[in-house]
């Protein structure tokens, strides 16, 4: 007697206990195995690109904070870079170092969130997550010292940064780096060689390199598949050509590699921050750029940075007015979602959440 079975279609989200924001996934299961996956996004769409056409160039900085909301400094940096390309403006050296420093601190914070939530999805009930957040709180306190806000910082402006760092910022930063060394070692010890973490993530959701390139995947997901491409090295901006750092790469492209890679990137970011502290010189922090900018009519610029999640780029078209004619945001998380189907089909139910965590998407960026 053959038992009749039928595949089951299930809706994961948009509200679900596993945080990744408001993300909906329609999955068809055959028992344990995933047959078909359809990601549905747009629950956090706020019309940022249209709003940007109504705000002047300086005001748009506040809009960019809210794209990838765990990584605001880097969003600011991408946008300011694009505007400076549009204007042809030059950023003073102190501002370049300050930007690099804060962007790398933000990258550490963003990766801590990513790592913490991968471990949370594995079922650790939050202990490694709390360890990661303990360090992230210190970084957010540093940001508060700098610009008054923890998450939506709006620290950078076209032409430099908003305000110089206060004098007590530098000792606080040194203290943080010293403490972070021990704190991060604890996290690494807890999770990197943990048998259960390895067994749950190794060999799961492999992403071959040619598919990754063809699907326009960028950032840690691409580097985990084997390509050592980092826009900070390939098209250096701000002070990245003056600091030394490595680009970690992995070969397999499974969940463990994406997880491991983010931990290595945190180490490299700490290196960059230490070099910035040593190399920074006193000077102006903002180029002499008017508050209300009017770029050349017809000018356009594509400014990209290596954000914590991939290649974040702004395509700005100017018509000579105080607002951009078109502000297109190339968001890494949305494009990284292209590989969702490939990464999930054929794997098990329990792997799905961990895989989505390892992609490290942020819905503010996906939906804009």
């Amino acid at each position: 007697m053959t038992i009749r079975t039928e595949p089951m279609t299930v809706n994961i989200g948009p509200q679900h206990p596993s945080t990744h924001g408001v993300f909906r996934l329609r999955v068809t299961f055959d028992g344990e195995e995933i047959l078909q996956v359809e990601p549905i996004v747009g629950y956090l769409h706020r019309g940022t690109e249209k709003l940007a056409e109504e705000r002047n160039y300086t005001q748009i900085v506040t809009l960019t904070d809210r794209l990838d909301y765990v990584s605001s400094m880097i969003n600011n940096q991408a946008y300011c870079l694009a505007v400076e390309k549009l204007l042809g403006a030059e950023v003073p050296p102190r501002a370049k170092y300050l930007r690099t420093l804060t962007a790398e601190l933000q990258r550490i914070a963003s990766h801590l969130v990513g790592i913490g939530f991968i471990l949370q999805d594995l079922g650790t009930l939050g202990t490694p997550l709390m360890y990661c957040f303990r360090s992230r709180e210190r970084i957010l306190d540093l940001f508060e010292m700098l610009c008054g806000a923890r998450i939506t910082v709006s620290y950078m402006r076209p032409g430099g940064v908003f305000f110089d760092a206060p004098t007590d910022f530098w000792p606080a930063l040194d203290q943080f780096l010293k403490d972070f060394d021990t704190e991060f070692k604890e996290i690494e010890q807890l999770v990197l060689e943990n048998e259960i973490v390895m067994v749950r993530t190794r060999g799961v959701s492999l992403l071959p390199l040619d598919l990754a390139i063809n699907c326009s995947v960028s950032g840690p997901v691409l580097r985990a598949s084997g390509l050592a491409w980092d826009w900070r090295k390939m098209e250096p901006y701000d002070a990245y050509d003056k600091v030394e750092f490595d680009v970690p790469t992995a070969i397999n492209g499974d969940n463990y590699d994406r997880f491991w890679l983010r931990i290595q990137e945190i180490h490299q970011s700490v290196r960059i921050v230490e070099q910035c502290i040593r190399q920074i010189e006193p000077g102006p922090v903002r180029a002499d750029v008017p508050l209300v900018l009017r770029p050349e009519p017809g000018a356009e610029a594509y400014g990209r940075v290596e954000a914590s999640k991939g290649e974040l780029a702004f395509y700005l078209v100017s018509d000579g007015g105080i607002s951009p004619y078109r502000c297109k945001i190339r968001s890494p998380s949305l494009i990284n979602l292209t590989v969702t189907e490939h990464l999930l089909v054929g794997y098990k139910l329990a792997d799905m959440i961990v895989t989505l965590g390892s992609l490290d998407i942020n819905m503010g960026e996906v939906d804009r």
Binding site: E32, M130, L190, I196, V199, R200, L209, D246, P248, I251
Partner: protein
Amino acid sequence: MNCVLGPDNILHDTVLYRVVYEFVGQLLPCWLSYLIAGFVIMFFLINAVLLGAAIFSWMERRLIGKFQNRLGPNRWGPFGLLQPIADLIKLIFKEDLTPRAADKIVFAAVPIVMLAPVILMLAVVPFAKDTALANLNVGVLYVLAVTSVTSIAIFMAGWSSNNRFAMFGAARGVAVLISYEVPVVISLLGVVMIAGSMSLADVVNAQTIPFLLVQPLALFVFVAGTAAELNRTPFDMAEAESELIAGYHIEYSGIKFGLIQAAEFGGVVTASAVIVTLFFSGWSGPASNYIGWLWFLLKAGAVACVFIWVRATFPRLRIDQLLALAWKFLLPVSIINLFATALEVYFLRDDAGSLATSDLWIMAGINFGLAALSILAFGTMIREKVRPVGSGDASPSPLGVSIAESS
């Protein structure tokens, strides 16, 4: 109207029962005092379990908070000690929903069927010298049998909810439970063989040195198996499936859910009590004639803290890895323990059939070596199959692009 329990009555040895029975029997008819004495016993038992579950839930939340560098509950009462009462009040006032298409009788029966085994198990555990609520001479068998009822309860919960997600979780829960029954049972046979009796009081009395030294492998298998049976991390696939699909108790709300949670926490308390009795020599310690119950409570609390510690630390295993662990690792290891213990007992016991303390030390030495070897061997064997080939760590690449040749 003097009602007396004859010495051939099995309830004769339960002192509390006899005292209440004879006291009430002076005033009321014998059959009524029979019932009243029974109720008194059950009253103590249920209170012990539920109080233990409440205290355990407080302990768990505070301890996990400590592990996670944050405070646990601290609003209700000093150190949040009244938090379980606050939870209880909240659950009582919540709306008690039953799905329309659910199987109503089974749905309502599930919390009771889940809680009953926990309460029943605690009845045979001796918590002080010569004191247990019911000193059964098949105590170990009784404990194992009663534990199995939990799997029925989980399946009832999943089936009667009329919800495909609940069924999913319940099917997994049952698979895990029946897989872990076998190693647990086999591991306890070694203890029974050494003690020479299945009565838990006899097991405690036979522990001149604690059995954790004599039977380390059995302790390991029993603790792992019990954690799986209680659906605790790292084995809680069935219920903490709530990361994407809720577990078997998705449709339960209000006090029904409260009772299921009480059953889960109470299960941990009871399992700790049983582990302490079987492996940590129960109530014995200095001055155990007077404060044996205190030693028992402290030891059970320590074991419960270990369960909490493990829960706070490890991520959870996937369902196929769980089952592989039970069948390919715990089962062979427990069978090795059984054979080794059988041989040792056969050769070392004297004519009366009992083992001297020095014999136990010899067995301890042999068993420790055997434990290390077998865990290493089977651990390596099961590890090879789960880890795929190829390493994922690459040294930081030098400046420049390295494109894999496949692109």
